[in-house]
Symmetry: C2
Subunit: 350 residues, 2 copies
Amino acid sequence: MAGVIFCKEVDFVVKRQGNTMFFENTPCVAGYGSAVGKKESEGPLKGEFDKVIYDSYAGTESFEKAESVFIREAVSMAIGKAKIKAEDIGLAFAGDLLNQCTASSLGLRDYKMPYIGVYSACSTMALSLLLSSVSVESGATSYALSAASSHFCSAERQYRFPLEYGSLRTPTSQWTVTGAGCCILKGKGNTNDDDIFIPCATVGVINDLGVTDQNNMGAAMAPAACDTLENFLRDTNTSPDDYDAIFTGDLGVLGSELFRELIKKDIGYTLTNHKDCGVLMYGDDKTVCCGGSGAGCCASVLCSHILPSMMSKRYKNVLFMATGALLSPTSVSQGESIHSIAHLINFRCK
Amino acid sequence: MAGVIFCKEVDFVVKRQGNTMFFENTPCVAGYGSAVGKKESEGPLKGEFDKVIYDSYAGTESFEKAESVFIREAVSMAIGKAKIKAEDIGLAFAGDLLNQCTASSLGLRDYKMPYIGVYSACSTMALSLLLSSVSVESGATSYALSAASSHFCSAERQYRFPLEYGSLRTPTSQWTVTGAGCCILKGKGNTNDDDIFIPCATVGVINDLGVTDQNNMGAAMAPAACDTLENFLRDTNTSPDDYDAIFTGDLGVLGSELFRELIKKDIGYTLTNHKDCGVLMYGDDKTVCCGGSGAGCCASVLCSHILPSMMSKRYKNVLFMATGALLSPTSVSQGESIHSIAHLINFRCK
């Protein structure tokens, strides 16, 4: 690898403060892509997605295989926009909600990229971006890919009931987004002054306040979001007002209220710049109850709405914090409470 | 974080060649621990494990909860041997085979460590160690934990049949190990000359030769092991004879034969120093058919047999290459072939 000079006298390229990692070389966004289903394409973000796949089966014979098509499409879009080849991706971080994360591995199988499977439920995209940042920062790869997906139909039958039951939804429930997002980061040597960059990221800690209602994920995840944001603000010595927007993914309507209440109670801030990807995705569509969820929700909102809004300079300093409920149908049926986590990425541009 | 100096003039601390990452600061092993079940404790590695839990339920009311006890015990042992506190762990990488990887997240929940869920089937331990290496190398954390677990009873009913069926096993099948392993890495500033260190690691690429028999995982995974080893040898310009031992995890008896045949065919080497964790675990016990498997197999063999053998200088230069079959019961029933991956870690000591 020509041109790489080892760091002989000093040790680290990442500085750690609390649970926050600061990146000296500042990983930059090389490209991003999104693919969503019909329902998602008709919401408030209509027209912002790269690709809409109207067929729930995406031309395959199962919802699970369809999900791998969504992630493949998002990856393909991101590679195209980054103006690189698939072979340039040195590490591909990806995950989803399916048992054994098969949507990701099947979706990326044909790309022949070095593959790193991650599992962090709906916070998968933020975790992938955090690991990608450390990787391009250290020199482990020049380009790192982060991707996440979900599919309403594959999630519904895995986590809840067969679709054919047509079962009623509780008012606190959320609607799994059919979609995927992919974001490619690049390291020093390939970056430009006008790139969106990542100065720092905060890794999450598992929180568990004893919520056992799997139809109220927002309540289970709000404390994790609160914990990570508070850690981030303390580690960076900043306040919520320093950011143009704080995006959570995907607390939904109820979880967002709880999150803002907790922040108010804990650190005395009334958040005025908070938005939730799960709320943004479907707006006031009542059929989705509390809003969108699923690993593909915040991933596709990031890659269709947030990053483009930074490209157009609407936002210049954004927090992207994805939350995940680390439950399984088995853990819930065995009476375990829903333990949650949130990882945070700070995106900036000049 | 006092004493950290940023690398101002040069860029990277990890050098990449092909799919292999070279670590200038050489992450070192701080401590390791293992916990296994009764059957595992009676095999050839008898007496080498830190803890044996004779009750399949490990004092809990389900096999899934029991699995989280195994991983918690292994983590506890490793922290003790590393002579650090749980709070010193800045990043905890962990994974298992259960749907949504709940054994790991429940096992680590109470530790309050920054948690990073990974999924790479039976190659989870090697993937965790690879990501831990990049993390301590870059300064993202001073101590990184890698852990993986599996449990015969939880795996059997999730992947195959309820235990109560007493179903017959095919001759090519493998036996999921009940156990867990945990290894803690430390970065520059905390290392000693006589530590076991990791000079390099190779990330895997998904391989799929079209095998669809989920009772013959060895055959599905052997090409992935072959691919990663060949990449590693090319990237490092070394030959198999340069290593005291090449450990695969967990190809089993048949997969190991296929692996050695493929290596012989591809690069003309007759491997004389190859050992397989799945074979080591149960020896010639015929009830396990082709040997052990499961994310906890190579993790517990690494932390009970391989690393201690390096501490006693029996081995000084070892390759630890874990293979994973990225299938799910759903993907198999939908006719997908079994796509596999292998990640490799080079352990050395002076």
